[in-house]
Symmetry: C2
Subunit: 346 residues, 2 copies
């Protein structure tokens, strides 16, 4: 009946969104063993850490799983852009008694490459998914060659068609409601980014491969709604953020449980690319989308020390509090329960 479940031999049409920086193998394993497709995000993992996490998944589940990579082009830093960015952040450094020019390189975001593929190949995961388009043809051919299915995110009809033309096995329709980074890669105009209700049926009509709905899906009603709009499955992330298997910080958890979670915005302040998070002081004061932020992922290094200092003082005002527009599904229960509850109306 369901094309994605058939394609992957999974029990439930539920994909757990890879969420770099807050989760590793534990969440993926829990979701896989509950019948969904668990995901390991690798954008912030060293190759050693990736190997460790992949071994942990293999040791704890025999089910299909997904490994996710970013595939952006790494920009060349320029002194000019760095100076503009440091100047924008300087008042906050001053406030904390810190020196912006001494800012160390913060956690970057690595793009998929042959070294990562070397680590990945022995594991031959059922699915390898990408964000920000697809890697170069030779890399993509390598992944396909060892048998992994390929997924990637589309934020517009044009992106969905582009991905299908390059042979992806499923398209993730990432509605504007989704938390974290917009997967947009054919445009940087955020006015092209549209809500799940509008995006999903248009992508379903535009491509022949299965479409996975992402953005705003927080409960069984949301899953039923996505399937009514033509989705073969859903991808849910925010709703897992309070699970014990996730390393969401206490500050982030508090924000997700508060009324503050009702106000998110797309911001490029934390990495350089638009990503959805709960609005906080730095987003309000610099504007959530600032021309001062250098290209992805170069914004990270100078803002990371502010985050670290503020968090050490108990404040999330400089943290990326990633969340979609619908955090109402977040509960402090095991991820298996979230997964089963999402599928409860099927």
């Amino acid at each position: 009946m369901n094309r994605l479940q058939d394609l992957l031999d999974i029990e439930l049409p539920i994909v757990q969104s890879p969420m770099a920086g807050v989760q590793s193998s534990a969440l993926a394993v829990a979701v896989c063993n509950a019948g969904g497709l668990g995901s390991l995000p690798c954008a912030m993992l060293s190759h050693d850490a990736m190997q460790t996490e992949l071994m942990a998944i293999r040791a704890q589940t025999t089910r299909p799983f997904n490994v996710n990579f970013f595939c952006h082009a790494q920009p060349t830093p320029t002194r000019e852009r760095e100076m503009v960015w440091h100047a924008a952040l300087a008042p906050y450094y001053d406030e904390f008694g810190m020196n912006v020019d001494a800012a160390p390189a913060g956690p970057g975001r690595a793009a998929f490459n042959h070294d990562a593929a070397d680590v990945l190949e022995p594991f031959k995961p059922a699915v390898v998914s990408f964000h920000f388009g697809l890697p170069a043809d030779d890399l993509l051919a390598r992944v396909r060659g060892w048998g992994s299915k390929i997924f990637s995110s589309a934020t517009t009809v044009e992106e969905a068609r582009w991905l299908e033309a390059r042979g992806v096995d499923a398209v993730i329709a990432q509605g504007l409601e989704a938390g974290g980074h917009r997967g947009m890669f054919l445009t940087d105009d955020v006015t092209t980014q549209i809500g799940t209700f509008a995006l999903l049926p248009q992508i379903v009509a535009a491509v022949r491969v299965p479409v996975i709905a992402a953005g705003g899906i927080a409960d069984a009603g949301g899953v039923a709604a996505a399937l009514s709009l033509g989705a073969a499955a859903v991808q849910a992330g925010t709703t897992y953020l309070l699970c014990p298997e996730v390393a969401t910080t206490p500050i982030h958890r508090t924000a997700l449980k508060s009324d503050a979670a009702r106000h998110t915005a797309l911001t490029n302040l934390f990495t350089g690319r638009p990503a959805r998070g709960i609005v906080n002081r730095i987003m309000r004061e610099l504007g959530p989308l600032s021309a001062a932020a250098p290209p992805f992922p170069l914004a990270t290094s100078a803002i990371a020390p502010l985050r670290a200092r503020a968090e050490s003082l108990g404040s999330g005002e400089f943290s990326p509090l990633w969340s979609g527009q619908n955090a109402t599904g977040c509960r402090e229960v095991p991820a298996a329960q979230i997964t089963r509850d999402l599928a409860a109306a099927l």
Copy 2:
């Protein structure tokens, strides 16, 4: 079974969005007679025209219908704001060989008042709906006193609660996908505006009155999805814009049928308030949301002559091409067929 259908004694849980400027009684009558709730938008009608249209509805249907009003506070024009706005538009006036200082007052948007209520009262429509909040207490009491049910749009959970506390009979949850004016009234921060997939279930959870879903709903799958998310009914507008009963201009129709319809944005250029339309030259060049535009509805008068001149030359580059983010449901068929097709999966 369905609370809104019971409340109004209508056959189908389909409300036709009032669309000021493009439709009058003909569309409302067609939708009513097909079993939905047709709507007459009055924001751009003189009181004489309102009377004529209300008589036309009464003559052609015995079904319940909705009459819609804006209820903004009318701002006081200032010479400073007008000069800023004229300066922003001056290059376009120059291009057309026109004089911006000779710009006549264009079509305004009238707020509901006692004179309008005098015209409305003898018709006692089943529903009176409002956009931009609610009118003053005495006016609202008058409408309620003659027996009309009261609807209004909410774009946030806070607005839904505010409306329920003032006794509305149903809340329209207007997702970010919706075409035309955002109904936002407790905030002017567009980052608070969220997609239907996220907004609808949060409003359903927050209020006890029936919730009508608006934004991105273009076909029977969309209606089914909205009901899965807890809606008692849907409100659809864009999908009616090609119907013969609607006075959509040929330029607007052409845009809706083209790939251009896939790129809409919120813009304040045409009236002063954010409203969603298909992106065109003036939106691209001034930015869709411009600080130069004076408060609603004062932006209208100076931009209207540019629209008129451009349209006379066959161009929609200065026109408000209102559309939601999902124009795929638009078809050149009678509104009765659109209405029945929306309800086909129920």
